[in-house]
Amino acid sequence: MSWVNNAVYAYDGSFDGLLSCVFESYERKEELMDITSGSDPQYVLFGNRYVETDPQKATRVYEAIGNKISPAARELVRLGFLTCSPQKELLIYRFLRLGFKHGGAVMNMLTENTVHQLHKAVRHLNSESHAFMGFVRFSVYGDALVAVIEPKNIVLPVLACHFCDRYSQESFMIYDKTHGQALIHRPDAAQDDKVSIVNVDELVLPDVSEQEKAYRSLWKQFYNTVAIRERINPRAQMSHMPKRYWAQLTEMQ
């Protein structure tokens, strides 16, 4: 039986949901033209198939990616889902179609359009995550550290490991304003509750203490003093640290 090639699926927006779509597509032999997430009203309009998230099916697909393509491909797909590419679902789906056909070799097909675009999206995620390892600015509120970021990609899952290790003794929160999520670290909680990523709609912070203000002004003074006047180069500064980061950087206020 040959594949039908005009199907459009909708899912609930979760990673397991997307993998369930992949499962469904193979089971029904339907090549997908598009995958939309539940929040998108279009799927109701055209009466497309809504795929219920099934953790068991999702797990089967997830394990198959590792076994039949490669562990590196599974990592790529996992990261691909965190990117801000508007077509991430379709990219991942097409990448998996190629992967299940060609096996591990798909990872070398860097000039193939889908593979290229997925790699590119993941590179963007990784470079933004790396930038935020430096650009996150904590403020001290009582015993806790709080930072606000406005990333394009969903960087919190990528950053969690780095910050939880670095501040292993600190209670901290990094609030992702763009996606309404927060990474929370509680060093004194039970092992399973130490690190969590939760949905946060709005964050209202109290005024900062005098001591906090003093350290901010020390840092600003350091920042302004360390630049060499004879070498001022705004173009280089902005290409390394684009203006979209400035709103949350203490030294740029």
Binding site: M109, T111, N233, A236
Partner: protein
């Protein structure tokens, strides 16, 4: 004087040291009670108005100095405000900046207080406070003070991640003119002590897994560019020797910014030679990652870099007989020598050509800069369709007008009109390079 004023003075006097990186060592925070970690790639936390990365809290312990080096803002004879941090102030500042993720760690240097041994002891006190009392696990870069007791240097090395001793001036002649208190031997001695310490430590670590680590991120140095008449060839040859003989991790170059009027120095109104510094960094990269040797890039006939073209393109133009290179078969080392192909794109080519036959649009996807590379490569035996290969078209695409715009003051950029559009125009058949035809 409060900490705010001290920070201002001691940052201002430390800023001419260009090294800022926090790379070369990976350390998890590990044991309970410890604060901080280190990431081997290094992390930039901000970028100053001069476009340089800020990774470490770069300050001097004290800016009083018993030496009188002519090029230095902290020289004894300079009438400037002096300050000194106490070890507690410094450790406290570092911890509080680190906690807020402003910095990756501390870069501590100092003017010479009383004598080299005393100064080194002060640095040790700060590092001991940070590592032992505050359990600080972040990055520490500390200066080795020429003339200090070897035992003190090795104590310092066990507390730091990176150490550096600045060569400052690339020849003995320049040193004795401008830094009469320093000699080549006094600078090279601590460098070889550190190298020796690192080597012995590697052997120890093989024998005992928990042997304390000595300068695990290696050592670096810095040279001032443009304060003395030393040529690029001299500087690059010295750099190469430092990488090979002293196993340095990095050599930094600092374009000289005039800080005083002196008959032996460039005048106060001269601009720092930023383009020259940039070319040296490009060549430094070629030495470390591209398999080039200093003598391939410069020689006695041409001892300085071409300001109009980067060193790799310059090399390629002088060795045009080695091109074009066939993308589908050329070894990695050969790919690296093609202008427009870097380490990343060369690796991608090697990977991607296993899966597919590569064509020009494909190369673009791999990150190859075709504007430069197109003249030096073939894909499956073919050149890019419609490409006119002659000296003037190649020159036009290799000339780095963008870089020049960034580093040269305006009038000099206009000198580019030496190569007018007509002269560079396509179709000057007599310029055709036969071997490229």
């Amino acid at each position: 004087m409060d900490v705010y004023d001290k920070l201002t003075i001691l940052t201002d006097s430390a800023k001419y040291d260009v090294s800022c990186s926090s790379s070369g060592v990976e350390r998890k925070s590990g044991q309970a009670g410890a604060a901080g970690s280190a990431v081997s790639s290094g992390i930039c936390h901000s970028f100053a108005a001069d476009g340089r990365c800020i990774s470490l809290l770069k300050v001097l312990m004290s800016n009083s100095c018993i030496y009188d080096c002519k090029y230095c803002v902290n020289r004894r004879s300079n009438d400037t405000r002096r300050a000194m941090f106490t070890p507690e102030e410094l450790a406290n500042l570092t911890m509080n900046f680190y906690r807020r993720n402003y910095i990756e760690g501390l870069f501590l240097s100092s003017g010479i207080m009383r004598n080299p041994d005393y100064t080194t002891e002060q640095l040790i006190r700060v590092l001991e406070l940070l590592r032992n009392e505050y359990k600080f696990g972040g990055y520490i870069h500390v200066k080795g003070i020429p003339g200090a007791d070897p035992a003190l240097i090795s104590r310092l090395g066990l507390l730091a991640d990176r150490m550096s001793v600045n060569i400052e001036l690339p020849s003995q002649a320049s040193l004795s003119q401008l830094a009469p208190d320093k000699t080549k031997e006094a600078i090279l001695k601590p460098m070889s002590l550190i190298r020796q310490g690192i080597q012995e430590n590697v052997t120890d670590l093989v024998k005992y897994r928990h042997a304390p680590k000595f300068v695990p991120a290696g050592q670096s140095t810095q040279m001032i560019i443009g304060a003395t008449p030393d040529s690029d060839l001299k500087i690059l040859t010295l750099t190469e020797a430092l990488y090979h003989k002293y196993k340095l991790k990095r050599v930094y170059y600092s374009a000289y910014t005039p800080v005083m009027e002196h008959s032996l120095l460039p005048s106060l109104d001269s601009k720092p030679p930023l383009l020259r510094e940039h070319r040296l960094y490009q060549a430094d990269w070629l030495l470390r990652f591209y398999g080039f040797e200093a003598k391939e890039l410069l020689d006695e006939r041409a001892p300085n870099f071409n300001p109009f073209m980067d060193p790799k393109c310059n090399w390629a133009m002088n060795h045009i007989d080695r091109f074009p290179v066939e993308i589908s078969t050329a070894p990695y080392e050969t790919l690296l020598r093609v202008p427009g192909i870097g380490v990343t794109s060369a690796k991608r080519i090697v990977k991607a050509r296993r899966a597919f036959r590569l064509d020009f649009p494909g190369l673009k996807k791999l990150g190859v800069v075709l504007k430069r590379a197109q003249y030096f490569i073939t894909c499956s035996g073919r050149r890019l369709e419609g490409l006119k290969v002659n000296e003037s078209t190649i020159l036009r695409s290799l000339l780095s007008t963008k870089e020049l715009g960034m580093f040269l003051p305006q009038p000099q950029v206009e000198q580019l009109s030496l190569f007018s559009d007509d002269e560079l125009g396509i179709g000057t058949g007599k310029d055709l390079i036969s071997c490229l035809g």
